[in-house]
Amino acid sequence: MTVASRSEDADRARRFRDAALPHLDEVYTLARYLLRSAADADDAVQECYLRALRHFDGFRGQAVKPWLLAILRNVCRAEFARRSGSMAVGADADMAEDASPLWQDETHSAETEMLRRHDAATIRGFLAALPEPFREVVVLRDINDLTYREIAEVIGAPVGTVMSRLARARGMLREAWLKAEREQECGGEHEEQSR
């Protein structure tokens, strides 16, 4: 390797490090919510940064964060596809969006009901139960704090889709939330009935 190319490499590495490493926590967070285990998330994030480094030269002017998250998402989807042989995310999501109108979601919720706080583990459980396309928009918006435009970039869909998917996702989340509260309240009764 010549001295010139080595210093070019070092310069490129420095630019990549400055641009990409500050977003590591967010990338890892998304990986943890998309994949089942911490070890899988580790592998996926490593692979994401490898791919990002490889394509860094072709990367111009966009925001780094959505770009990285989009790569991570692709890595995760490839991993799903490899494991299950199926992960038709787009189709699933569109179908689900058509399935029921938003404003009829909560069949039993009383208007006076107030969401109570759940601990982090419970909330993680709610999120894990969401179908993947809905889980990812909630994580990107509410946990990673991306704007709608950024989310649109990550998932490669128009902002309108982000909005409807997010509304639907939060609807499901709220339902799970309220259901857990009802069960907490009348846990005893439920047990009686199920016997």
Binding site: R6, A10, Y28, S109, I143, Y148
Partner: protein, 258 residues
Amino acid sequence: MTCEEAGILLHALIDGELDAGHAREVERHVATCPRCAAQLRDYRAMRQALSAPALRHPAPASLRAGIEAMLPAPLARGTASRRGVLKGFAMGGVMGGALSAALAASLVLYLGRGEEDRHILGDLVSAHLRSLQGDRLTDVQSTDQHTVKPWFNGRLDVAPPVVDLTAQGFSLIGGRLDYLDGRPVAAIVYKRRAHVINLFVAPADPQASGRAAIETRQGFNIWRGAVSHLSLWAVSDINAEELQEFGDKLEAAVKSGS
């Protein structure tokens, strides 16, 4: 505004993505619709709960180190840190006996590892990183040891051992020609799950210490071993135990095969 429209737009309202005109419209609707008002209140509470730091997953230090390590190292890092040590040592004389003794000890430790040693470890990691970055992980891609082994014929003055360790959990991916310390060497590539293991094979240096041990450099584990007249190094980001296992199985397989 209908409940259907409000059902989507109230999220944009919460998220601060709505322009003032639409925001007023949503608020006007919510003021007259208890159902949407309840939703808005719940979604606000939910958003609040979801912003809890406990729901974020900070990257583990090991992952950060691993990613740092796969980036090409900045120029002349070695010389810089060495200068740092020497400077500290010189200052020790000024700062007093105890401290300078400690510094002297660390300097001895620092210099204790041979220059050659550090040089080869750095080369190994660089070669490993190069193999991961380009499209040149393998020159010959095959899971068949009888394809990979003959490929090296005539390319090197040694015949590297190529053994299939798939049954032991390390699948053979292929091989390539690489360079260590300016000399051509064989690199045999294995995978453990998604992790690449590069096994470098070079003629044994009679000067080299023969100890088989795992060392860590830039977040990568490096196993070194030897069979008959060959030096072996395996470099990977898998954990030390697994790499040791790889080394043990490799040596066992090579010895039983030859």
